[in-house]
Symmetry: C2
Subunit: 548 residues, 2 copies
């Protein structure tokens, strides 16, 4: 019997690397191909992408990739997937514009099949069809996806909020959502990340007041940091600057590229005579300047973090400057962000942030908005995604309060297919899934073993011991050489360990010595034990035996 | 002319390692000797303590150490300081009881001069006198310190909140604070950490409602995690458990020790027949059990974190269990804590935390309470401590709103003395100060170089190359041996690098080879460049040259 499968490969039980496959018979589509950022235990990892094994194994079925919007956690892994599969990529004009550079950079001139879709279009792909629906979020041209299947509609909200005064005036197509609800939604996959927040979230436009207050009351320059993709935030900064007689410069490569691209394509309207070059900031009075800058997540190489360390040659922080922190820390970045903010305070700057003034709002639906979405679309099955287990759990509690019985709500998890036929729904056996760690060289697939070694190296350092063996004579030649890096033990400790090693080696017989592995073993054993006994330290001990 | 110096050695411009010296002529006292926890860049560091150089250099003047309360950020570095100086240590009975074990452990039988003080006492120390004043906080017997000097009173609030319904009924001695205000406070050093929170904070007793709701509504066992030192939180857990017919067991060494100590000394009153042993939990119905557990900061070895990984042999999490997260993450620990909570959700447990239900309150004064303290004590000079620069900055803004002129408010910083004489106050030249990093072996003083190496090792791993030299002949013997740890490059890459190295070594003359340093240099240079060029990786390259 035919069934429809919804297979999250990322984003179910986590925030980040959103990627979902929808399979019906011989047809498969993928919605979003996002990345996530490493946690503090993933040493030397730059980004994390989904394990694409399932998609690669089923590439013959793959009819298209659909992108809801241009945030990295929805599109960032696309260049990696497109190295393994080839199929049309559907997205709005804006989303395509935002990702094209990176695709070109990673994939070179390889023929990409990018296809533009717009809200209202219906894209037929085999036995499935996909209808993007306009919905508000913190980036332009964001879409929910209504996927029609022979069993009913799978509606993916993507990231959303109900913003009735969006900065670009482009409202959510609520009527269409209601129509689709009436038509009959089999399953709603909903954003759940803000389920902990009661009520209804403020409009993006609410930020204007916070910006305005800072722009008119700050005695010096105003710096604003935000996500570079938050076009509407930057638009508002330009607008308020224009109103208050300030000029705007942009600092930070990513922010510069985005402003250039968006104003060229008409996604931003920069008021006349408002933008200036960063190098010309000095020609204006301090209280007539605004600087948009990268660094809202405390990224070490970002313009803002470098300014806070007096390492940014293009701009120096001055006493009297005000930074507007117009963002929220991604969990794990808090400490780095506060360090940056504190350094700015120490330099005599003022910093305005969310708990002090309304200079940031979330792009995601609060609790009552999530309920509104359920009410509008009246899905039969309900499955929260784009949330950690805690968010999914609270969302399901909310669904129960709204009357959903247990057999109609699902706590999805990456790799576990949600299967639906005409009568029932169930979670099937896992498909290959997981995380793939990518480092800044672009190499994908840093192993757990490497991570374990790095963790060990980070915490305790390394001790390298080298022994030369004369294999013919079965003799150790010269003294072992011991070197340490990142190791907090004293040189006395190493000398002592070296002494113990010499003693142990002296006890080896000629035939022992001819067994290189045994010598290596003895060396690392003796050193490890000696160092631990004397100083409770546990460095990685690496013995090298060289034959001569 | 005589003057009074207030010298923060920790806790000014940071949250943690509180330690302040007060100097008048030949007399010095120290208030608090705290530790702080490492940030994510301090690999392999267990705790951070103040640099005590200034105290050691001036130990002849040191008349006494005064402890405001028993939290680690106020007492945790005492064992380290007492290895370098010897003087009386004044604290309340409770504080002494809480720290005695650790002092005995670190300092052995060395004669400690612990002296008990109680609120209302006046301790004369040379030309200074110290009066502890009872003030509420999240631990029993917390004291503010009124230090009388020939120039007036320096009043240190220590950590505080104004709790009018404290769990132990012991109210802040507000009358005494008012009297001292009338007598004339020269300078107030105030807690500032919650200045961002408007209004007046809730009483510790407010947590009772959150606990009660969870205890009566949870279908299974209730686990509670909190700081082990939060005696009043645990007292309330016992009380509510008794009321709702649940038995209480304790899991986690630190929590067990504290409950045992506090109930023995009368700081906790455990209701009759309420406490049970962890091993006996199974004998009770699931909905009749409460478990107090360590792990509120996501510490890897804590009971809670081990439970969440199914690695805690004494207790298994069951579906239907409820965890009350009765704490707030210390910045930097958020990610680890949410991982733990999410694992519990995945195991079928429910988790209740501050943003869902009122199961935690802060121990620190909110904005209006901070103003009340200023109003009560009417200090001439004002200097916020126990805060990061952002908190100090907002506190000073608040002081300005209250009418304080610039010359009477100070943004203190560790190591910078605040000097006051009869007419004025100023910040003097720095004294030695800073942070000392201690690892879990107890060794103090992990250097920046070691941290840099560890960071490099953590992110890129290490490549070790070993070359054997015959010095007499000026020849390289055998092939170089290359080993890598925590390195994400392929073995092909290493083979290639090895080939390049052989080529480079072949070009060395006999006399080049006799210069060991040059060989070492060549080896690390060639490998580093080759690896970077081919794979954009930057491992630490450690060459070892062994002479035979």
């Amino acid at each position: 019997m035919s069934l429809i499968q919804v297979i999250p490969l990322g984003g179910a039980g986590e925030i980040g690397k959103n990627c979902t496959a929808i399979v019906h018979g011989d047809d498969m589509i993928v919605v979003d191909v996002g990345l996530s950022f490493p946690n503090e235990e993933m040493f030397g990892v730059d980004i994390v992408i989904p394990d694409f094994t399932f998609l690669v194994e089923n590439r013959a079925k793959l009819r298209g990739i659909f992108l809801t919007h241009a945030h990295e956690d929805h599109v960032g892994a696309l260049p990696y997937l497109l190295q393994m599969v080839n199929c049309p990529v559907y997205a709005t004009e804006f989303t395509h514009a935002m990702i094209r550079n990176k695709l070109d950079e990673k994939l070179g001139t390889k023929g990409l099949d990018l296809r533009t879709m717009a809200p209202g279009d219906i894209v037929e792909v085999g036995s499935l069809s996909v209808e993007p629906i306009r919905i508000t979020h913190s980036i332009p041209e964001n879409c929910a996806m209504a996927i029609r299947t022979p069993h009913g509609i799978v509606l993916m909200t993507g990231d959303f909020k109900f913003d009735f005064t969006p900065v670009d005036g482009k409202l959510t197509n609520i009527n269409r959502l209601a129509e689709i609800g009436k038509e009959g939604v089999l399953c709603l996959l909903s954003d759940s990340t803000n389920v902990e927040r009661p009520g209804w979230g403020p409009s993006e436009r609410a930020v204007r007041d916070g910006l305005y207050k800072a722009f008119i009351s700050s005695p010096g320059r105003v710096l604003i940091t935000s996500f570079a993709s938050n076009i509407h935030r930057m638009q508002q900064a330009f607008d308020v600057a224009h109103e208050t007689g300030r000029k705007v410069a942009v600092a930070g490569r990513r922010m510069e590229t985005t402003v250039e691209l968006c104003s060229r394509l008409g996604y931003m309207q920069i008021p006349r005579n408002t933008q200036i070059l960063l190098k010309d900031v000095g020609a204006h009075d301090l209280d007539k300047v605004v600087i948009l800058t990268t660094g809202s997540q405390g990224e070490p190489m970002s313009a803002l973090v470098q300014m806070s360390k007096e390492e940014y040659s293009r701009l120096r922080i001055l006493p009297g400057d005000t930074l507007i922190y117009s963002a929220r820390p991604i969990p794990g970045n808090e400490a780095a962000i506060w360090r940056t903010i504190n350094r700015l305070f120490r330099m005599g700057a003022n910093v305005v942030y969310e708990s002090v003034d309304p200079v940031h709002v979330s792009g995601h639906a609060y609790r009552e908005e999530l309920k509104m979405m359920i009410n509008l679309t009246r899905p039969y099955y309900l499955a929260p995604v784009h949330g950690e287990p805690r968010h999914q759990h609270l969302y399901l509690e909310m669904a129960r309060e709204m009357g959903y019985p247990e057999n109609r709500i699902f706590m999805l998890q990456d790799g576990l297919p949600l299967c639906m036929d005409d009568t029932t729904a169930w979670i099937a056996e896992p498909v290959p899934s997981g995380r793939v760690l990518v480092d800044n060289s672009g190499t994908a697939g840093i192993s757990d073993e490497i991570l374990r070694d790095r963790s060990n190296l980070a915490n305790d350092g390394i001790v390298v011991v080298t022994i030369a063996l004369d294999m013919e004579r079965g003799e150790i030649v010269g003294d072992p050489v011991i070197q340490a890096k990142g190791f907090s033990g004293s040189s006395d400790l190493l000398d002592e360990a070296s002494g113990a090693l010499l003693e142990a080696l002296a006890k080896l017989t000629e035939s022992d010595i001819k067994d290189i592995d045994a010598v290596r073993h003895t060396a690392s054993d003796v050193l490890r034990r000696q160092i631990q006994r004397r100083a409770q330290l546990r460095p990685l001990v690496v013995p090298t035996v060289i034959e001569i």
